[in-house]
């Protein structure tokens, strides 16, 4: 019995070890490469450890004309911030209306919102591009954020589910005291639903920091490039300079990995819970 238990424990650890190695190897390899000089990369092959250790790839991302990653970082941060604030505010307002108010056409409208969950971004990017071009907004900051800033049906759907689960007693009491809709939202609804709101904030940041297809299509040239678009452009421009390219991918991924490690409990818990529906 003991032997069998030890064996199954060993099997478990074997699976976990393989999973960790396979998961981390590409990250480790790309960081190792980013810390090498181009000369060492060519001479010693892709698997050699960096010697000498150098940050020149990272510094040239920011200082030389090859990289130019300052603008993409600023653009991406601005884009994520604006989309995040807009999406959270307008989604909370809409979810509140759907969950807690009564007005004609409410359920029909909600059904329309849910139906749009089936519309993939790939299908709408070409017409969106035509609309933005027609409006003269191609390659502008507004074109990057406008399609997303007014709220997300997905967020509205999740928030509505949570808002409906709240007890109405406190709300009625606050209303009797003469509290308006906005005060009710700010002082009661949002604090009571903090977990789902934090989850949505994280999902929104991840989604839009990583977004690529729309920024690729709607921007041209370096002015409004996001980090993902700049990484892709760098790769096609300096195809054989892998040490530089790997420093760019490291930069593109590191902020989100850090964010995830800090908030992993919130993220993993909410993912598991979302299957319960």
């Amino acid at each position: 019995m003991h032997a069998r238990r030890a064996l199954s424990l060993a099997a478990t650890y074997a699976v976990l070890l393989i999973a960790v190695l396979l998961t981390l190897a590409p990250f480790a390899l790309s960081v190792i490469t980013a810390l090498k000089t181009p000369r060492q990369f060519v001479q010693d092959g892709p698997l050699a450890l960096p010697s000498p250790l150098t940050l020149e790839n990272f510094t040239s991302l920011f200082t030389t004309s090859e990289g130019g990653f300052v603008t993409p970082l600023v653009v991406t941060l601005q884009m994520v911030a604006v989309i995040l604030v807009g999406q959270m505010v307008f989604s909370v307002l809409a979810a509140y209306a759907f969950a807690l108010l009564r007005f004609p056409g409410r359920d029909l409208l909600f059904w329309v919102y849910v139906a749009t969950l089936m519309v993939p971004q790939v299908v709408v990017v070409v017409p969106l591009y035509l609309m933005m071009s027609e409006a003269g907004m191609r390659n502008t900051f507004w074109a990057l954020v406008l399609p997303f800033v007014l709220g997300s049906p997905y967020a509205i759907f999740l928030l509505r589910e949570n808002f409906r689960g709240m007890s109405t007693e406190l709300m009625d009491a606050m209303r009797l005291d003469g509290a308006g809709t906005l005060r009710l939202l700010w002082n009661l609804v949002i604090p009571l639903n903090r977990p789902i709101i934090v989850t949505l904030v994280l999902i929104t940041v991840v989604t839009h920091w990583n977004s690529f297809m729309w920024p690729l299509i709607i921007t041209s040239g370096p002015t409004w490039q996001t980090v993902t678009v700049a990484t892709s452009a760098l790769q096609s421009q300096y195809a054989s300079n892998w040490t530089l390219v790997m420093s760019a991918t490291t930069l593109a991924m590191l902020p989100l990995i850090a964010l995830f490690v800090i908030f992993q409990r919130q993220i993993t818990r909410s993912i598991g819970a979302s299957t319960l529906r």
């Binding site: 519309v119 035509l130 049906p153 790997m246 993220i267």
Partner: protein
């Protein structure tokens, strides 16, 4: 609750309603309209009826990308689900250290598919890449017509397994331990327990993951763009790549919209069919 004036409701909905209408409903409608035109980014706009669809079919591009997308899905989704389940069964044993592993395996999922694609493009490079150096071979992973699609699917699997395992872990945690005790007393082997208890009891989770993963893999773009751009010889040109290449390489916006319409209808059919077919079966009587 005292019903208030409906104006408040409409006011609160107004911003998101404008967004949904202008940036989701209108573009879908526009995709249908544009698909009926020969519409080039250079300037031509001419009504041609269904000619774009006919062109795409006779040229083989649409059929090719459908086959590529289906192949990609058929490779990636089952393997992702199977590996995710295996990983989850080991993670829920909660051996010391597994909480750290649980976090690590999800890391690829939070990273930009574009950036991961670029990293893997380097790893797959024939002479300067890490994989061939590690294996001591010289294989053209991404430029050989036979290997390119499996290589792309491999990266997609690698990115998703940890994420998928989170859902399976949650599903496994909901199965009461007492059932397994009863099975052990009755002499069921671990494999029998997996086959006749765990897998059937996980059906709701598997169904949910199956639907979301299939729908997502029909839309894959960033990773393919970074790894192959659709080549070699269109062997990895998934539907989204075809849309992009038609619109922004060939500037044939009409044709691109026709492909988008086909993809949209396909996804609607998949979603509805899966709901219809599995919807009735997802509950499993626990008592």
């Amino acid at each position: 609750m005292r019903p208030r004036s409906p104006v408040v409701g409409y006011l609160l909905l107004a911003p998101s309603l404008i967004g949904v209408t202008a940036f989701l409903l209108l573009p879908v409608l526009l995709a249908f309209v544009v698909s009926l035109f020969r519409w080039d980014l250079i300037g031509t706009r001419e009504f041609v009826g269904l000619a774009n669809y006919a062109d795409l079919l006779s040229g083989g591009a649409l059929l090719n990308s459908l086959v590529v997308t289906v192949l990609f899905t058929v490779i990636a989704v089952p393997v992702t689900l199977a590996l995710g389940l295996v990983l989850a069964t080991q993670l829920v044993r909660a051996v010391p250290g597994s909480s750290l592993v649980r976090v690590i395996v999800v890391i690829p999922w939070v990273c930009a598919p574009l950036a991961l694609g670029v990293v893997w493009k380097w790893i797959f490079q024939p002479s300067t890449g890490a994989l061939n150096a590690l294996l001591g071979v010289r294989v053209e992973w991404l430029t050989s017509p036979m290997l390119a699609l499996p290589a792309v699917a491999f990266v997609a699997i690698w990115q998703q397994v940890g994420y998928v395992s989170l859902f399976f872990q949650a599903g496994l945690a909901r199965i009461p331990e007492s059932i397994y005790e009863a099975a052990r007393i009755d002499g069921a082997s671990p494999l029998q327990q997996l086959r006749f208890m765990t897998i059937p009891l996980l059906r709701p989770t598997t169904f949910f993951l199956g639907v979301t993963q299939v729908v997502a893999s029909f839309q894959v773009f960033d990773m393919v763009y970074a790894l192959t751009g659709g080549g070699p010889e269109h062997r990895t040109e998934v539907i989204a790549s075809l849309i992009y290449n038609q619109a922004f390489d060939s500037f044939a916006v009409g044709k691109a919209s026709a492909v988008a319409v086909v993809l949209f209808l396909l996804l609607v059919v998949i979603t509805v069919a899966q709901q219809r077919y599995f919807g009735r079966r997802i509950t499993y009587d626990l008592s």
